[in-house]
């Protein structure tokens, strides 16, 4: 059947996608192709005419996805971009690219947190996912199996239903390779939300291409803490999967995570390491603040509920913008819970479908951003040419109210 796909028996779109899959399988030295049961498509992101031409070529050739497939963030908030200084030409092309992927039969959930949607995969399922943070979450927290899919390959996998048998699809590559031991990290710190992005940022930098096993955590992390941990690792590093001993499903014990063998290397992570990582996530050191931005990965309903009491009865400073990036589905849940009214009353806004890194939407006067997301903190300086301050959710809200950066540094000083 693979050969028939390659020969065009299933149409020219399938033929093109299959040709790319087979060429990649050869480059990767994969022994065979395997079936997948689902895909998450990051290729929907408009990155210039090349990505649009690729998508429209596939549509023109009649390609359709053959497995349930969801869409990652797009290049534009389809119905809300007009409230930001987005170039209408960009918006039009990004929208055309959204339509192309919808025409191929993908579910338009437009979110980088598909694991918090109804399309979440299950343990052991072979899937082809794009979006670095989603890949880490699916592999590590859920135990589904995906390699780190590059944009453009995810859609070829979804169309053909086939992927090269390589990397994290294979049991032998899911064994931990680097033992990371938390040493003298206070439990109170481990319970803080901001501990997870900071830890992830540090691990991404030291893990290299190895699969890290985190050992010694005393706190049971919440879903959104695991989300922040993985997203941070996948920004500062190449990590496609981690094990958290006693927490993640393929790491019931240290021995399980290491596949019964010994770890080739053990590295301690100390409070000092984390303080350094925390400092590194900020590039601004003054009090100036133009914008607070939350929601990378996309804000969940639990995060909206956590935010609401912090905003009650307060007002955002008139010189500061307060933005939350999320999905349409989470915004609808937030609306139902009354959270949107509170955010509106506070003076905040919500953008869906996309984020500040994937749509050029920020006005030029935005020079300093503050965020609780390590992913935003990591990418903003290079991509948006802004300075960034990393802080806790509470710090972000308090700073937005005051109109200047203020952080509770007691947790991070020795």
């Amino acid at each position: 059947m693979d050969q028939a796909k390659l020969d065009g028996a299933y149409g020219a779109g399938v033929e093109m996608a299959m040709r790319i899959i087979v060429r990649m399988a050869r480059i990767l030295d994969a022994e065979k192709l395997i079936d997948i049961e689902g895909a998450h498509i990051d290729s929907s992101l408009y990155m210039g005419d090349a990505t649009l031409e690729f998508a429209e070529r596939l549509v023109e050739l009649g390609a359709k996805v053959s497995v349930p497939s969801t869409l990652n963030v797009s290049g534009v908030d389809e119905h809300g971009w007009q409230s930001w200084p987005v170039d209408p030409l960009w918006a039009e092309k990004a929208r055309r690219q959204m339509v192309a992927y919808e025409r191929m039969g993908c579910n338009p959930i437009w979110t980088c947190a598909p694991y918090q949607s109804e399309f979440k995969p299950v343990f052991g399922q072979q899937i082809a996912w794009g979006e670095s943070n989603a890949i880490v979450y699916a592999n590590s927290v859920i135990g589904a199996r995906t390699e780190r899919y590059p944009d453009l390959l995810d859609i070829c996998a979804a169309i053909t239903g086939r992927v090269p048998a390589f990397g994290l699809h294979l049991t032998e590559n899911r064994i931990g390779q680097l033992h990371l031991r938390l040493k003298d990290v206070p439990v109170e710190l481990q319970a803080e939300d901001s501990f997870y992005p900071v830890l992830g940022h540090h691990i991404g930098k030291i893990a290299g291409e190895s699969l890290p096993v985190i050992d010694g955590l005393k706190h049971v992390p919440k879903e959104d803490q695991l989300k922040a941990l993985g997203a941070a690792m996948a920004s500062s590093g190449t990590v496609g999967m981690f094990h958290l001993v006693g927490i993640t499903p393929e790491a019931t014990t240290l021995a399980h995570a290491l596949g019964g063998g010994d770890a080739p290397t053990t590295i301690d992570i100390t409070r000092e390491d984390l303080t350094l990582a925390w400092k590194e996530l900020s590039t601004a050191d003054g009090e100036d603040l133009d914008m607070v931005v939350l929601g990378s990965p996309h804000f969940s309903i639990a995060e909206f509920k956590q935010l609401v009491p912090l905003l009650m009865g307060k007002k955002c400073h008139p010189d500061v913008r307060f933005l939350i990036t999320s999905s349409r589905a989470m915004r609808a849940l937030a609306e139902g819970s009354g959270a949107l009214d509170v955010i509106d009353e506070f003076g905040g806004t919500i953008t869906v479908d996309t984020c500040i890194l994937t749509t050029p939407m920020l006005p030029p006067e935005i020079k300093v951003l503050m965020t609780n997301s390590a992913k935003y903190a990591y990418y903003a300086p290079g991509m948006l040419n802004t300075q960034v301050v990393f802080g806790s959710l509470e710090d972000c809200v308090a700073s937005a109210v005051e109109g200047r950066v203020g952080r509770d540094v007691s947790l991070w000083s020795n």
């Binding site: 093109m16 040709r19 790319i20 060429r23 990649m24 480059i27 990767l28 030295d29 990051d42 290729s43 992101l45 990155m47 210039g48 005419d49 090349a50 990505t51 031409e53 690729f54 070529r57 794009g130 979006e131 670095s132 890949i135 390699e147 780190r148 899919y149 590059p150 944009d151 453009l152 390959l153 995810d154 991404g204 290299g208 291409e209 996948a234 920004s235 500062s236 590093g237 190449t238 590039t283 890194l357 990591y378 990418y379 300086p381 290079g382 991509m383």
Partner: protein, 141 residues
């Protein structure tokens, strides 16, 4: 000094160019401006260097899934490196080259080097690539 290195030609080519190399992995998304070829990751040692038309060596790509799309766009507008060298096989860069071939018939040569060979290279070296995977390195120093 001239050295010969045997690498694996993931996407073979035949060309010559000047090398830019780093030990730090790079994410092209947020780290490479496809409109100009400038390396824009402000935390990367090559920040500010323009890699368009050069031979770029990074050990592997880091981070985002979007690296492929950024490199493809850079190739479309003529601002991609003229060849890429990595330590081991990097699917992200290879895929961008395969798709550049599919869409524009302009693949970017991608070569995977052994780690010890990778360490022998220095920025400024003149490199000639051959389709069989061999590299002729003329070092400046």
């Amino acid at each position: 000094m001239v050295e010969l290195i045997q690498a694996k030609a993931l996407i073979p080519g035949e060309l010559q160019g000047k090398l830019i190399i780093s030990d730090e992995p790079l994410s092209f998304w947020g780290g490479y401006d496809p409109a100009t070829g400038e390396i824009t990751d402000r935390r990367h040692p090559l920040s500010g260097v323009n890699a368009a038309g050069m031979i770029l060596a990074v050990p592997f790509t880091r981070g985002s899934s979007t690296t492929t799309a950024v490199l493809l766009e850079a190739q479309r507008v003529g601002k991609a490196p003229k060849a890429l060298l990595t330590r081991g096989v990097d699917p992200f860069l290879s895929l961008a080259s395969v798709v550049a071939d599919e869409l524009y018939e302009q693949p970017i040569p991608v070569y995977a080097l052994q780690e010890n060979d990778y360490l022998r290279l220095t920025s400024g070296d003149l490199i000639k690539l051959y389709p069989d995977g061999s590299l002729k390195v003329t070092s400046v120093g």
